[in-house]
Subunit: 335 residues, 2 copies
DNA sequence: GTTAGCACTGTGCCCGCCCGAGTGCCAGGG
DNA sequence: CCCTGGCACTCGGGCGGGCACAGTGCTAAC
């Protein structure tokens, strides 16, 4: 497939179909684009494109619509992602700059992206690899109960109450606290459980039960903090997209609610030279997203941000928005 | 409206319409329910019910469907909320018992309720009134930066890095920490900012700038922790409900995404003697939820849990599920 | 390789038709 | 006074025919 005009025609078909949401015929094509040839020639080319499986005709005699493969070659055809307009960039900047904590950043980002693309936006929380323990606090609550708080460098503080077999003296508590701190501060979250097991093993009997209980709690908190999470926004946009053509809303909503599935999907997507990854229709395996498209990219060390929408989406703009948002996100979280 | 048989007929109409999803006529009614009268009599009663605005006929000659007001009297007619079945109760218990932290509890609860009711579930985070400060930690990060962590009794730990004008000595840091702790521990979140202002005012000059900076941060964290949040699940259930009749999915999704609106709506709903609150159709003011129904109840001190679905929903079961989940939630969070 | 022209085909739409469900009402009977 | 059987009426939905239209594929000519 290296016939320039046919590629141009494919491109025109995708654009018009995205725009007008109905099958596009040869005549409309020559009217709306300066192709420099007649509709008959376009028809011949369209027949060739159909032969190659890039477009298809819903009924014997109506215009053509792109196939999954057609969208794919269209997307591959896009050389460079166009940058966002100045006002858009400023809006992003302003919105994200005065976010308070990490939750706020995620929340704002996902809403922003949903609004920018008019699709469903998904943002993964920053990846825990590379996240280390900043601090651990052990607070006595009296009557044999202590509160342990784990503060990792990514801001996802976690806390839990531990009930001890027997109350601790204040000095014992301080020693325990010091031992835990020495064992885990600065370590990556994934290394915490092992480090604590070692610490517990090396603790003298009087303090050992308490150390074991606290150690287990901290380990669990670290494991929880390393687990991936995501936020989502713009599901209402699906209703609009779904309204007129193809793409039933139910399966997509189900897929989006299955965070585990979405997170795996996102992490599988390898972005290309342009810095974005696109999955179209059946490229998402068989399943609820086989009528949808996903545009995603990474930010920070290895986290992802993306949008989910109908295959009939404005790929250039969506790719631009996703990439721009990811860059701002990297910058905010990096600083 | 105190005609027993007419009430019985209204009830039958609601049940059948919920069940079969199509207008119900007089003949079908006498076939499916033991009313003890003929269809002609039922017709007369239906005419009366229509006169009172409780039911309506979509077309001149098809069965009747309940109006908002019809659903309302149906719901008011339900004397007691029926308890859940044993297995259901056990499932709830098991699922919620091994939740790790507060986020996990919320997440599990909302998913559970969505699955139980086959609707969209909404759970508000525990209300902050009554929540006090359990602990505050101030950790030196070096180079004039300190990390402050606020641990409230409701588990919503928050943390922030504060950049100081000048680095602190360790002894200064300890003193600052002690002063902050003394000022706020045990106070309710809403009282924290004022208490800190007082503390800052009473601090000697050398430590004052640092105290002001840290105080401000803790105050902001407390304010953030007092703010309401919610989680949501089961939006895919909307697609099913929406599929066949009335209720367009778009507006409802939009409303659900506007957390502020939803939270206000929930807090406005006053539960009645049976321990649940129901809002039907236009009772939700004009707006996106005017074709939907909300069933909610409170848990804990003053937080809410509820579901949103089509007016044509199984109210008895939904009310039972919402109330049961709220009770388990109260118990889990109380203990 | 491109173009003009033409026959062809399937869709959507409108129209008219009939059928059936369900109603409202009336007159008769407990 | 309330209930019932009966009957005429009405509308919605499904079905089939006819029409207009959009867009195709093909062929012959340039």
């Amino acid at each position: 497939m290296n016939h320039p005009r046919r590629l141009q025609i494919l491109q025109a078909i995708v654009e018009d179909y995205v725009h007008f949401r109905e099958p596009v015929g040869s005549k409309a094509l020559v009217d709306r684009h300066r192709l420099g040839v007649s509709s008959a020639t376009v028809r011949n080319d369209m027949a060739a494109l159909e032969e190659e499986g890039l477009i298809t005709a819903p009924h014997t005699s109506s215009g053509r619509i792109p196939t999954d493969k057609g969208y794919r070659t269209f997307v591959d055809q896009i050389a460079a992602v166009k940058p966002l307009s100045g006002p858009e960039r400023r809006a992003i900047q302003r919105l994200l700059d005065d976010a308070a904590d990490i939750d706020d950043v995620m929340e704002r980002t996902v809403r922003l992206l949903a609004q920018l693309t008019q699709q469903v936006a998904v943002v993964q929380y920053p990846h825990a690899s590379g996240v280390t323990v900043r601090h651990v606090e052990v607070v006595d609550l009296g009557v044999g109960r202590v509160l342990v708080v784990l503060i990792p460098t990514n801001g996802r503080v976690a806390q839990r109450v531990v009930v001890l077999r027997a109350p601790l003296e204040e000095s014992q508590l301080l020693e325990l606290r010091a031992r835990v701190l020495a064992a885990v501060v600065g370590r990556s979250l994934t290394a915490v459980p092992d480090a604590l097991a070692l610490m517990v093993a090396g603790t003298a009997p009087p303090l050992q039960p308490a150390a074991a209980a606290v150690g287990e709690a901290v380990g669990a908190l670290a494991a929880g903090g390393a687990e991936h999470r995501m936020v989502m926004a713009g599901t209402a946009n699906l209703a609009r997209a779904t309204g007129d053509f193809h793409l039933s809303i139910g399966p997509v909503l189900e897929a989006l609610e299955e965070q585990v599935v979405m997170l795996r999907l996102l992490s599988e997507m390898e972005q290309d030279a342009r810095g974005v990854a696109v999955r179209i229709g059946t490229e998402n395996a068989e399943g609820p997203l086989s009528e949808a498209a996903v545009v995603a990219t990474g930010y920070g060390p290895q986290s992802k941000v993306g949008v989910v929408g109908p295959m009939r989406m404005d790929y250039p703009s969506t790719m631009a928005a996703v990439r721009a948002v990811a860059r701002y996100l990297s910058r905010i979280l990096g600083g």
